[in-house]
Structures are given as structure tokens and as C-alpha cells.
Symmetry: C2
Subunit: 341 residues, 2 copies
């Protein structure tokens, strides 16, 4: 395959193609501060201060439109960073907020975005303590870019959780329905009116995840990740590949909303390949799965949590279909919905 | 004055007008993590972990063009964050790197930018440990936006330094010539060929600042800030206003390169109002000024450091001119050079 010389949309789509660009973008010699570094390509990285493990993460947001059913760019920007910290077992402490704004952007929209970010911070018990603002000439940017970075700490009663440590025998749990965010965005863009049927799941998951982690013995959550760009398909393939294991998913158990499934069918988009912004995927020691599932379900954001499969020896991710067949859940080239977060 | 309803270029120019927009953008209730919070509008904010003071900061970068005499967007992105940590007395530990890239951007340019960032990291002893990449459609962004956030720790032999604690009697020191970055950018854009005469000062200042801080007794550096957007004029006015003091600057002592002064004259731009990306402004207890100055001058990045004035009771910033007069150094409405960092 010819090496690309220019960046294309798939390079930002969270799938296999993005991995190629990341080789270039992560070619830092100074890539590690004494903990988990850039080379791990995990949801965040770590370093130690005063005997504590600190987790650091960042995401920029370019979602279009900026207000959509179920949320807005501000809620995504805070939730995304909270969730990358939370899936690593950390408690979000402090976030940054950096905005690049196009000349002419309505200040009333900024007020709405700030209020929405503030609400999400409150739900997670975190704060934005520093920021930055740049303005560029009209036409130089399509609206606004919001970046948040976040610092979290791994508390005594929690532990550092990676995305790479699935082990044969583990149960795979998802914390709720899949595909909501991506399909809500694309349906909204296409002008479908589905009322309250199809809306983004965007939410900060810290309290839900913290409860689930503490519901089982320390270490029982072997691996965790948030299925954002590229959806569940990209996420579970990455987890399986990093661990050198095979994952078998039971189609019957995968929670997908009726509205999401039908919109996906209509639009030719697989709900498993589009971004979620309020879900996590966990690999749990089998004996702890019931306790973790119960804890998730006791939280408003986790009431549709389900055990959807298990880890076995081998490689790849397969789905046992309703009619008893098996097919691969392929690692997608990228998320079929651009500008989704 | 009528309240603006739309964002304009001055809102991002680091001066008085930007302050108005910041009222909206910093209206978070969740704005503090138990240390210095958003309300302080300092170079960074703080929180405590394991008995250590942690400093957090962020900046997005939209400088145009992305390669310019003396540096590039990558070097600015790393140096800016290193410097905001350093002026607070912290040692930079870990940075994030989030890129938003326009479809069609040359991958060879990304390679150059990453190499440049890596070099700047090496100069400061820091690392980029996590990042993010988004791609937007051609025409939705003018090239690339790079955000870095940084985490630093205040070491035992250093101390937290604010931008607000100038005290009457303090000496004002600048670490080198003023106006280099802003005038290099604008002259380059205007197509002036000044060879090596006019180039950006962009550099990570950690080692220089760390040496200067340790050259005097603990606490002798009363206040410090990096004079970025809005230049020295915005910086010193903010420092004076926050402390409720007056600053008297001696024009004769202010280091400005010949080439910067003449380009400024030609373009009608005051070198004191444009961004520096490799300088700091310090307020030092008088008895410690010599030691700090000597330490700065012993570092390659500080060889033009100078005592340029002092702090007295009162308010505002005045300049004693060469001919014995006095004029105000006004807080600029904004930086006269757009897209400077
Ligand atoms: N420009 C970049 N520089 C350095 N590291 C990067 C960059 N872009 C991505 N990475 C790293 O690549 C990995 C994958 O990034 P990605 O953004 O897909 O993760 P994520 O934040 O968990 O997902 P999403 O952005 O969809 O929420 C992470 O480890 C991240 O730190
Ligand atoms: N969008 C924002 N949200 C929250 N706080 C912000 C935002 N923009 C700026 N701030 C805060 O306002 C203050 C001034 O920001 P500014 O970016 O001018 O500082 P700086 O980084 O020191 O300067 P420069 O960006 O020119 O390098 C800082 O305390 C910053 O945390
Ligand atoms: Mg993630
Ligand atoms: Mg993320
Ligand atoms: Mg800034
Ligand atoms: Mg600063
Ligand atoms: Mg700065
Ligand atoms: Mg990301």
C-alpha cells in the first residue's frame, strides 16, 4: 500500500487508518514521565507524584453541529476527558479548557456551552481550573474547537486499570446501549425527526465506574476502555489485540436501542462502529462479573448494562449470531460518521 | 459601551478586550480543585496531591504561518506550556498534545512539527505522554491547531510563584530582548527579508528560570509572568493591577533589538505590545536582584537580561523616557498581531 502523503478524514476516525497516522504523531523520544507513556496508546498516561499515581489525558472536540439531541460540544468535551480518566481507575480532579473560536461566533452560544460544561463537571465532581482562548479570522475555522485535558488520581480504594489486560475467562460487560451518540448525530444531520427516540448518550461516567470498580475485589476489573470513535468494534478489537486474546460476543445480549438499530439500518451504518460518549467496556474476572453488573445497573447511567461475551484464547473478535452462526466483528477502518466528537 | 454579541479578533488578543470575553468563559461554578483556581487568571492553576503542589496549564496554538524565522508551531506549543509552568515556580513533568488537522495537510509537515516539539521537550526535560488527533474537512480549518496542556510540580527547593505579588521596592527584571516573536511573525508575513536579523525568541525557559529562582533566597521572586499575547505592556499592567502597585520602567534599560525597533517603527507596531515566546518578567526583592540577574545572564537564553524598573506605591505603569519625561505604558486593547501564537 502506498504511504499517504496527506492527511485524510479517515486519519481522524479512530480506526485502523488512524493508527497509521499515529505512528508519525507519536514519534517522540520524550514520550514518558516515568509511568505509562505514549507508547502504550491507552486512554491516558501516568506518572507518580508524592507516592500517588496520576493519570493525564486530553481530547479536542470538533463535533458538528455543536448542539445536538442529548447534548452539545461542551458536554462532550467534559465527559470525554472525565471518561478517559475514569476507565483508567482514576478520580478526575482538575481539567483544562482551551477554546479556539471563529470570529463572529455568538457569545450567547458560548454562555450555553460553558453552562453545559459546568453541569457535566458537577456530575463528576471535577473542576476546570485553567484555560486558554484563541480567536481566528472568519472562514479560518468552522465554529469552535474545544480541548480539555484532565488530571486524575488513583485513590487508595481504586487501582490503575489498563485497556490491555483482558484474560481468558473474563466476562465482557458493556455499561449500556451501543451506538446512541453516533447515530443521534448522523440522524440529526440528515434531518430525521425522531423526537426523543434518538439522542446522544453523552455523560460523565465517573460515579458509575467508581461504584462498579469498588463493588468487586481489587484487581477484578482486568481491562476497561470507553468505546468512542470507531465504536464498540474498534474498542473491543483494540482490547483483544493488545491482550493477545479472542473475544466472543453473544449478539442476543448486546444492548442496542430499537431506534438506533432502525436508524442504522436506514442509513447503512453499523451501530457497533459509531462513537458512544457515555459508555464503557470492561473485562472482568468471571467470579466478579455479577457484582460489577449489579453495581452498574444500580446507577442511572448503567441501567442497561449487560454481560455480552467472554474472553477465550486466540485472536480476533467474533459475534455469535442469533441464528447460531459466527461472524467477525472487524476492526473498522474508521468511524463512518465524521466530526462525531 | 454596548456589550458585544459576537466574538471578534480582539477577544483573542490577550489584552483588555479579551478580559471581557473571559468573564463569560470563566463563569464556571466548578472552577477550583482546592488550590489556585480559575478566578485567579494566573498563568496556571494548582491543586495538591500527596503533599505536593501541582501546577496545571494549557494553551492552544494557531500561529500563522506554521513555520517562521526562529521556530514553528510545534516549538511554540511546547515552549508556551513549559513557560507557563516555569513562571509559577514549577518543574514541567508531563505534557499532552492534541492536534486538530485539516484534511489535505502534508504528513511531512507533521513529521517536522513532531521533531521540533521533541527537541523543545528535550531542552526542558519534559515529555509528551498522551495526545489526541482530530481531522476536519478541507476548508473547515486553516491548517492545524495544536493544544498542549502541562502538569508541573513545585519542587522542595523551589516555591509557588504568582503573577500578583509585586511589592513596593521590588526590582523589575526582564530575561532578554522584548518584541522579537511578534515582530518576526509580522515582518515575515509582510514579506520583509531581514535574514537572520529578525527571528522569534521561542524557547522553553525552564532551566533558565529554575536557575534564577534558586540563585536567591526562597521567596525572593515575588512575582513572575511570561509576556506572551499583548506583550510586555499587557503583562506588566496585569501584574501591577493585580498587586495594586505602580511600576516605573526606565526606557534606557529596556532591551530591544535594533532590528525589532526598526521593524516596529516601519510597521507602526510597538515592540512592547507584541508577543514574546521565550521571555519572562520578574518582580524581585531589591536585595536579591543582583543574584537573580547574574543567574539569568549565565544562561544562554538570559544573556540580555536586565533590571528595567522598580515597583512603587500607586497604580499604573509609567516609562521614564530617554529625554527625562514620563509616559504611561497603557494596557493594550489587544496584541496588534493576530494569529501570533
Ligand atoms: N497527536 C497525538 N500526539 C500524541 N499522542 C496521540 C496523538 N493523537 C493520539 N494520541 C494517542 O493515541 C492513542 C489513541 O488516541 P485516541 O484519541 O483515539 O484515544 P481516546 O481519547 O481514548 O479516543 P477518542 O479521542 O475517540 O475519545 C492515545 O493513547 C493517545 O494518547
Ligand atoms: N476558555 C477559557 N476557559 C477558562 N479559562 C480561560 C479560558 N481562556 C483563558 N482562561 C484563563 O484566563 C487567563 C488568561 O489566559 P491567557 O491565555 O491569556 O494566559 P496565558 O496562557 O498566560 O497567555 P497566552 O495564552 O498568551 O500564552 C488564564 O488564567 C486562563 O486560565
Ligand atoms: Mg478513550
Ligand atoms: Mg477520549
Ligand atoms: Mg493561554
Ligand atoms: Mg502566561
Ligand atoms: Mg501561555
Ligand atoms: Mg482522544
Amino acid at each position: 500500500m502506498k504511504k499517504d502523503t496527506e492527511v485524510n478524514m479517515m486519519h481522524g476516525a479512530g480506526g485502523e487508518v488512524m493508527g497509521e497516522l499515529l505512528v508519525t504523531l507519536t514519534a517522540f523520544k520524550h514520550n514518558n514521565a516515568g509511568g505509562i507513556g505514549l507508547e502504550s496508546l491507552d486512554d491516558g498516561s501516568t506518572f507518580e507524584i508524592g507516592g500517588k499515581t496520576i493519570v493525564l489525558t486530553t481530547d479536542s472536540h470538533v463535533v458538528k453541529p455543536i448542539f445536538f439531541p442529548g447534548g452539545d460540544i461542551g458536554r462532550v468535551a467534559v465527559s470525554g476527558t472525565i471518561n478517559d480518566l475514569s476507565v483508567m481507575g482514576a478520580r478526575p480532579v482538575a481539567l483544562t479548557c482551551a477554546m479556539v473560536i471563529e470570529e463572529g461566533f455568538p457569545i450567547a452560544d458560548l454562555e450555553k456551552i460553558v453552562a453545559s460544561m459546568d453541569e457535566a463537571l458537577g456530575e463528576a465532581g471535577a473542576a476546570i481550573i485553567t484555560g486558554d482562548t484563541k480567536v481566528v479570522e472568519k472562514g479560518s475555522l468552522d465554529g469552535i474547537v474545544i480541548n480539555t485535558a484532565g488530571v486524575g488520581v488513583v485513590d487508595e480504594d481504586s487501582y490503575l486499570i489498563r485497556d490491555k489486560a483482558l484474560a481468558p475467562g473474563d466476562k465482557i460487560i458493556v455499561s449500556g446501549t451501543l451506538g446512541d451518540h453516533g447515530l443521534a448525530i448522523v440522524a440529526h444531520r440528515e434531518g430525521f425527526d425522531l423526537g426523543d427516540q434518538l439522542k446522544s448518550d453523552v455523560a460523565p461516567l465517573y460515579t458509575m465506574i467508581a461504584g462498579a470498580v469498588r463493588a468487586a475485589p481489587k484487581g477484578a476489573v482486568h481491562a476497561m476502555k470507553d468505546p468512542t470513535r470507531g465504536g464498540f468494534a474498534a474498542c473491543i478489537n483494540e482490547m483483544a489485540r493488545k491482550a493477545g486474546v479472542k473475544v466472543v460476543v453473544d449478539q442476543e445480549s448486546v444492548p442496542i436501542r430499537e431506534s438506533v438499530a432502525s436508524a442504522g439500518g436506514l442509513l447503512g451504518i453499523d451501530p457497533l462502529q459509531v462513537a458512544n460518549e457515555g459508555k464503557c467496556v470492561m473485562g472482568i474476572a468471571a467470579e466478579a462479573a455479577d457484582a460489577v453488573l449489579a453495581a452498574l445497573r444500580s446507577h442511572p447511567l448503567g441501567k442497561n448494562a449487560a454481560v455480552i461475551g467472554e474472553v477465550v484464547e486466540g485472536s480476533g473478535v467474533v459475534m455469535r449470531t442469533r441464528i447460531g452462526g459466527e461472524r467477525f466483528i472487524e476492526p473498522p477502518m474508521g468511524d463512518p460518521v465524521p466530526r462525531v466528537c
